[in-house]
Amino acid sequence: MNLEKLTKMANEIAAFFDADPDRAAALDGFAGHLRRFWEPRMRKELVALVDGGGGGDLLPLVRQAFVERRAQILP
């Protein structure tokens, strides 16, 4: 999959949930959205990008969710 596009999509999702003043709710919202709507290969590839040291363009909420909500995001 196109990682640049996945990065953009993840950031746009994060931009929505980031508006929630409750950080835990924002993280849950972001992670839940990916789990409910992204096909597994998209999630795996983006998480792998971050695991491999990439994903510098990802918003902090995305990177935090990949760490703190990892089990929720991955199949």
Partner: protein, 952 residues
């Protein structure tokens, strides 16, 4: 002329709890207060003669044929304009009345051609019938006097003619244009003997007539007559069915001669349209018999190979073997399907079943991805159900109507007529749209506020409106506290009250003066019943889902959900967008909007289908394209959808299609996607199959077969046979059995069956034990999700920005005469009104670029370039240009980008930064398009089809 064999009680039905008893010709009848004597008489089995009266129009009282006698009253009152009164004693037949009526008829016939035997209305003419009814035997005045028998015939409209020699000036056409359609295109010119019907002093084609057909339907003679009747004669039988164009879902009576459609007449019993129609449904059905139809299955190994016509058996065997080969090589998830919003519920249900039960994955999506998927997400999140809240009739109770990003007079014309009627009665109107749509100002309709926002700033506008509601004390706290999640509400309220959401703070962003926002918010917020209607101008944005939730927030905050006259009403684009979504066409949901991750739901379907359903969501359409380009997605079954034309960033779509190994297209014509296909399954039109469509108000309507499928199989049968070839039986004898399965597995459809549809005519889901006859208005007692959920809707500007290179914003839309990618309407005489897509540009922007009206202009974005003809107009604001996407060679989507809604990937069609310059030649892409079109036409068996001619 009314449809054959249809009753016409003469004046409209009246609804009243008060009843009136009277006697008509000695028979006692009991009718609602306000009913005319003429209509009441029909209850006594009496048809009072009439000419100027018809039940779709208010009584007019001009023809003097319906005179009656009423005990205790002097003279001979017209029964159409006289209302019933308690104890009234009416006589409809007497020697004196007979004499009067014959006298009236003599005058009419003295100025009427006596060519009944060769007249197209012969056998279905009210004038002819009335002459018989009144016993006309002579015309004492002769026929040599002054008359109108030399009046010219207006043949300018492609679908109907206007023969003034046969006109009796009853004004039914004029009144239909005003009362039913609301266009006011017709008038009576002159007075007395010189009176004549005129479309504003010009011919019909040049006039403001929108060819809805209401005048033709209302005409009691053959003055206004369908050309199809002139050519083929009167029909001999009728089949009730549902239009296959927009999401209004009009009911029609297909008038037939054998297997040939003679005309389509809107059905008075239709719950969505109540007997009205538009130019598409009424007249543009000739594509069904167009010579471009492909009626034999075809296959080829490569897209550069000639097509080979094969039997259905060989086509299914080849396709099945290719799909299994691909799965064997690339994995189970390497294939998928796209269901069609133009196909029936039963057909879309079967395609998603094929994917889940036969392909063994969830890679199924539907064209709602590119239109109303944000509606599904937004309304499910806030209210609990992915559907509009109201029925269309609800608009009759609205006091203020807010139309956001929708152009109903073009895209949903029959509903627009209902809306305009309510507006003429005095309802307030707010239009939120970058363009000056027709609704903003037209005869007897004018928006109190037109918020002409900068494209892409919807969320800023809705937040500003909500800010005014919150900060000026217009919240319906009692409603909110009873019905909504208060924790989420308090968070939202604190957010929306922030100064950054005020109209003043957002004025520079939205381009809308703060005072207008405040005025519009007060109008809606203080209305007894405020209703919001929206379209793709809401959803097709990077914040489409946010905007839908913003609309739901606003409606909940003002208590405008849960009763007639209010609500959140998405105007769906295609005929079965609602249904295709209901049927589990999304990759994350099984039928009834139930997520695939729910083990109980998977177990239910798994048990019914004898398979294990995958628990993870599949690929959406844009993800399929990306996966195709990375080599992990190789096979796609596309039922009735032309993604090569309708989806954004055409270059990207075509690269993806070209990289697949088996693309299967099931369609009527060699559509754009078929040029990149390896298998072509010839599909069936809506006239060739049984099934159901679900319209924008959740109304399930029957589609009935009026002629056999030209290729031998209905679309549902093709899917069944493909599944069979892949080793899985889906044994249905009739679509009603598919609906039975849907009902057994889907709670909202639990009470739906073909038998019940026959009995009730149509059903609005949810239809179950709690609502056995359906649900016109949802969320009546409480929201479907329990407590309504307010959602924080922060405005996030799109990344598609203007700059020095791309200083204008292109936004796209539709036009009345054409439908979606135009595959159907381009093959009808509707091209008369819209032969090509044009670029609307403001005079200032045109002048700055030296562009004159009609010039060719290159439209260039970061994604590509196309060339269109310029139309200079102030409908668009400076800085904004607009086009439609009905003609493939226009390449509107060559220019649009891959930007999409954050939640659903619905494309951001409505915002593309572009530059416009004069040019003299077509774009590189357009020249390539021409070359591909010619090459692919040459690959058809027998060479190119005789294309480009309208069949009707």
């Amino acid at each position: 002329m009314y449809s054959i064999h249809e009753r016409d009680p003469g004046t409209p039905i009246r609804i009243s709890t008060k009843r009136v008893s009277l006697t008509i010709d000695g028979v006692t009848v009991n009718v609602p207060e306000g009913t005319s004597v003429m209509r009441a008489a029909t209850q006594a089995g009496v048809n009072v003669p009439k000419l100027c009266a018809t039940d779709s129009l208010e009584a007019f009282g001009s023809c003097r044929l319906c005179l009656v006698q009423i005990e205790g009253r002097r003279g001979f009152p017209a029964s159409c304009t006289t209302l019933v009164e308690p104890g009234m004693k009416v006589t409809t037949q007497s020697p004196k009345l007979a004499t009067l009526r014959r006298g009236v008829m003599e005058l009419y016939i003295s100025d009427h051609p006596l060519d009944c035997l060769t007249c197209p209305a012969n056998g279905n003419c009210e004038l002819q019938e009335m002459a018989g009814v009144v016993g006309l035997r002579e015309v004492r005045y002769g026929y040599a006097g002054e008359n109108h028998l030399e009046a010219p015939k207006d043949e300018s409209n492609p679908y109907f003619s206007f023969d003034a020699t046969k006109c009796i000036v009853c004004s039914r056409c004029v009144r239909a244009c005003e009362e039913v359609q609301g266009t006011f295109a017709l008038t009576v010119l002159g007075r007395g003997f010189d009176s004549k019907i005129s479309p504003g002093g010009t011919d019909f084609l040049s006039s403001e007539c929108v060819s809805c057909g209401a005048c033709v339907q209302a005409c009691p003679t053959s003055t206004l007559m369908e050309k199809s009747i002139e050519e083929r004669g009167q029909p001999d039988h009728v089949v009730a069915t549902t239009c296959a164009y927009c999401g209004v879902g009009c009911s029609f009576r297909a008038e037939m001669k054998g297997n040939e459609v003679v005309r389509m007449v809107p059905d008075k019993q239709g719950g969505a349209n109540h007997g009205h129609s538009c130019v598409k449904g009424r007249f543009a059905w000739g594509y069904a018999t167009h010579p471009d139809r492909i009626t034999t299955p075809m296959i080829r190994a490569r897209i550069t190979d000639p097509w080979r016509e094969v039997s259905w058996e060989e086509a299914f065997a080849y396709t099945a073997s290719e799909l299994r080969r691909i799965q064997g090589t690339y994995g189970a998830a390497s294939i998928g399907a796209i269901t069609s919003s133009r196909c029936t519920n039963e057909e879309t249900y079967l395609v998603q079943k094929l994917v889940r039960a036969v392909f063994g994955n969830n890679n199924v999506d539907t064209c709602a991805r590119v239109c109303h998927s944000p509606t599904g997400y937004g309304l499910k999140t806030t209210l609990g159900e992915s559907a509009g809240t109201q029925d269309f009739d609800s608009v009759e109770h609205a006091d203020v109507i807010v139309v956001i990003g929708a152009n109903p007079t073009d895209a949903h014309p029959v509903f627009a007529s209902r809306m305009k009627k309510r507006l003429r009665e005095g309802a307030g109107l707010v239009v939120i749209d970058p363009r000056q749509t027709d609704l903003v100002r037209q005869p007897h309709v004018e928006a109190a506020y037109h918020l002409q926002l900068v494209p892409g700033t919807n969320v800023a506008v809705i937040n500003a409106l909500a800010h005014v509601i919150v900060t000026e004390g217009m919240l319906r706290e009692e409603y909110i506290r009873a019905r909504c999640d208060l924790v989420e509400y308090e968070k939202w309220k604190a957010f929306i009250a922030l100064p950054e959401n005020s109209p003043e703070a957002l004025e520079a962003t939205t381009g809308v003066p703060a005072a207008q926002i405040r005025g519009a918010a007060r109008l809606y917020g203080q209305a007894k019943n405020g209703a919001i209607y929206y379209g793709l101008g809401v959803t097709e944005h990077s914040q489409g889902s946010t905007m839908v939730m913003g609309i739901a927030n606003l409606a909940m905050a003002t208590g405008n959900i849960g009763r007639p006259g209010v609500g959140v009403n998405p105007l769906r684009g295609q005929n079965n967008v609602q249904g295709s979504c209901d049927m589990g066409s999304f990759p994350h949901e099984l039928p009834g909007y139930r997520h695939v991750s729910d083990p109980a739901v998977r177990a239910l379907f798994g048990a019914a289908w004898g398979v294990e359903i995958q628990p993870e969501p599949g690929l959406r359409i844009p993800n399929m394209f990306d996966a195709a380009l990375d080599g992990s997605f190789k096979g796609l079954y596309v039922q009735g959808e032309d993604i090569a034309q309708s989806d954004p960033d055409t270059h990207h779509v075509l690269r993806a299609l070209s990289s697949m190994e088996c693309v299967i297209v099931q369609d009527l014509f060699l559509v754009e996607t078929a040029k990149y296909a390896h298998v072509f399954f010839p599909g069936a039109t809506f006239l060739e199959k049984d099934g159901t469509f679900t319209n924008a108000e959740r109304r399930i309507n029957r589609v009935r077969k009026v002629m056999p499928p030209r290729a031998g199989l209905a679309d549902w049968e093709i899917t069944v046979r493909l599944g069979q070839a892949m080793g899985v039986d889906m044994p249905y004898a009739h679509p009603s059995e598919i609906m039975d399965e849907i009902a057994a597995l889907t709670p909202t459809f639990h009470g739906v069956s073909y038998d019940k549809l026959e009995r009730l005519g149509s059903i609005q889901w949810p239809c179950n034990d709690a609502a056995p006859e359906g649900t016109p208005v949802m969320h009546a007692e409480q929201f479907v999700r329990g407590k309504g959920r307010f959602v924080i809707t922060r405005y996030v500007p799109t990344t598609e920005r203007t700059n020095r290179d791309y200083p204008l914003i292109l936004t796209t839309g539709r036009i009345l005469s054409q439908y979606n990618v135009g595959a159907q309407t381009r093959r009808t005489a509707n091209v008369t009104w819209h032969p090509e897509d044009v670029l609307e540009i403001h005079p200032h922007d045109a002048e700055f670029r030296g562009v004159a009206d009609g010039d060719l202009v290159a439209v260039t974005s970061r994604a590509g370039e196309t060339v269109l003809r310029a139309e200079i107009t102030e409908r668009v604001q400076p800085g904004v240009v607009y086009t439609t996407f009905h003609h493939p060679e226009s390449g509107a989507n060559v220019v649009t980008t891959e930007n999409s809604d954050w939640a659903t990937n619905c494309p951001e069609y409505k915002v593309t930064a572009v530059q416009v310059r004069r040019t003299t030649e077509r774009s590189v892409w357009q020249r390539e398009f021409d070359a591909t079109a010619h090459a692919q036409a040459d690959l058809l068996p027998g060479g190119p089809r005789p294309s480009g001619e309208a069949a009707e």
